[in-house]
Amino acid sequence: MSIAIDNRHNGIQAEPSNGGVDSTEIAIVIQNLKKRYGTVDAVKNVSLEVRSGEIFGLLGPNGTGKTTTLGCLCTLVQPDEGLLEVYGISVTQNPAAVRQRLGYVAQEVALDKMMTGRELLEMHSDLYHLSKAQQIDRIQSVLTTLDLVEYADRLIGTYSGGLKKRLDLAAGLLHNPQILVLDEPTAGLDIESRQIMWTLIRQLHQSGTTILITSHYLEEIDALADRVAILDRGTVIALGSPQDLKKSIGGDRVTLRVREFTPLSEATEVREHLLKLDVVKSVTLNEFQGNSLNLVVDAQSDVLAQIESKLNSLNLPLFGISRSQPSLEDVYLAVTGKCITEPLN
């Protein structure tokens, strides 16, 4: 299945981009990136391009090298091999110039709890050598955008997790970076904080900022990203726009539960029977959701009826069944064989 998508993504990549992005300008080039830690291949072979002005999503299970890839790009990790460029500037040869253009907000917040939010922002704007007048202007602006004005003069140690995440992002925006690199910016946030992040990401996108973002919330990436790359064990296994990726895996999705918690043996047996149906392309067993079955089926209208009558003939109950167009989650499941069980509500 992943091979089919790999073939497809080469085709997608050659296509001119949609959404009015000038595809001739490439913001980020990562080519054959490799990074080992001792015996661990953190990044085995990653190649991707991010076009200027697009939102690019980096997806993948835990420990597949997303953060390491971003670290290499952001001059924090020395890559073993590979080409890294930001607007044509080599990351390894000219890190200072790259840093000037990047804003990097790491997966873990990097704050000093003994400072107030404003003091921290002042420090960072000094590290970016902003003048006093620029500082006042920029600090006010990022505080407003992230809805932090009322917390600005409180100690960071008293901030909640969401506020910390927002302040961390605010610090990354101070110097108006051309490229913003966000490593799981919405992990663990409540709806309100997440919405603030989304609005901001969209605003920055509107104003032409290139955004590279990782997330475990696939619906979020589906809604935000122009293009995505899915990583698995240090390699890119799928790349393209969410729409193209969804189209490429083909068919409709059916999720089926024989019982609320189906015994594994029964689920396996049903799987064998369903695979015999012509309309059913594949059946994946999802152990994380009470051994439910995820089917890829022909986009044919009576497929649900066929499945139901099959179960009837086997004398089995049907706890629930639903049918949908493929989602990014289905793409993810298809190419990684893993299911992200972090639904977005």
């Binding site: 490439i26 790491a106 990097a110 960072h124």
Partner: protein, 294 residues
């Protein structure tokens, strides 16, 4: 993939490189970032004054308790007449400064562990040595403050107060020692695995270096093997000149402060040796800092 526009690195790099900015702007940037980083360390100190208070109370307790311990010792017991504090003061000054400098790497290590350092490294700093310089400025200011408080306390305890030049020389000695030890501690903060390892190194260095110096007892009290160690211990070269200043109000720079088997060292000679120690440790950590900080 082959259609990627990738100008040769050499062509693209020269155009944007930091050195393009004029030297004076780079210096201004360096000052701006160093000031910001130093300010952060002082904010931490003021908001968490326990470190400061402990750093001031501890040497005072040394002075008072050790002074009391030897209160009834026969006059001239420590090779000098008068209170033990007069003898001990120099040791407390140096040991306090040494301890502070040894700990200089800890905040940096915590910044490393919490990802804060990475955030600093993402900024287009004029020079990443501003991170090291800020720590050094902070530790030096703290040591100077401690030194002044200890000198004041010794005076209050009635064990004498050197003249202004004497105090200045004491501060110079403290500064040089602190610079040397801070360099080593910061180097450890960048090279050791984590704070547990750093604390372990601090613990096994701190007290042994104290006991193997002339801080608590004069060299003549020691067995020969310990004399050798004490005379190789840089701390002794800070302690002895300060002690000399306390014990000889009519001191001068050429007066002999240390008599070692290989020769005698004057006050100014001690300062010279300490400066050499500081220069060596400062320069020997540069390759390491360059490797860790790029």
């Amino acid at each position: 993939m082959t259609q990627i526009i990738s100008p040769t690195p050499s062509a693209s790099s020269a155009q944007f490189d930091y050195p393009d900015l004029s030297l004076s702007i780079r210096i201004l940037h360096f000052i701006q970032e160093t000031r910001a980083l130093t300010k952060r360390l002082f904010i931490q100190l003021i908001r968490r004054p326990s470190t400061l208070i402990a750093g001031l109370v501890q040497p005072l307790m040394w002075l008072v308790l050790f002074g009391a311990l030897f209160q009834n010792a026969p006059d001239g017991f420590m090779g000098t007449s008068g209170q033990y504090q007069k003898f001990l003061g120099a040791g407390v000054i140096v040991f306090t400064a040494f301890g502070g400098a040894l700990n200089a790497g800890l905040p940096v290590m915590f910044d490393r562990e919490f990802g804060f350092l990475n955030r600093l490294l993402m900024a287009p700093l004029a020079s990443r040595s501003s991170i090291v310089v800020a720590s050094a400025i902070f530790i030096m200011s703290l040591s100077l403050l401690q030194t002044l408080v200890i000198v004041g306390t010794i005076a209050i305890l009635g064990a004498g107060l050197p003249n202004v030049l004497g105090i200045l020389l004491i501060m110079a000695i403290v500064m040089v020692l602190v610079l040397a030890v801070t360099s080593l501690s910061l180097a450890l903060a960048f090279s050791l695995k984590g704070h547990v390892e750093l604390i372990a190194v601090i613990l096994v260095t701190n007290l042994p270096l104290l006991f193997a110096s002339t801080a608590l007892a004069p060299i003549s009290f020691m067995p020969t093997w310990l004399q050798w160690i004490a005379l190789l211990n840089p701390l002794s070269y800070a302690i002895e000149p300060i002690r000399y200043i306390y014990q000889h109000p009519d001191w001068n720079l050429n007066a002999i402060a240390i008599v070692a088997p290989w020769g005698s060292v004057s006050l100014i000679g001690c300062l010279g040796l300490l400066s050499a120690f500081a220069a060596i440790s400062f320069y020997s950590i540069q390759p390491l800092l360059k490797r860790s900080l790029g």
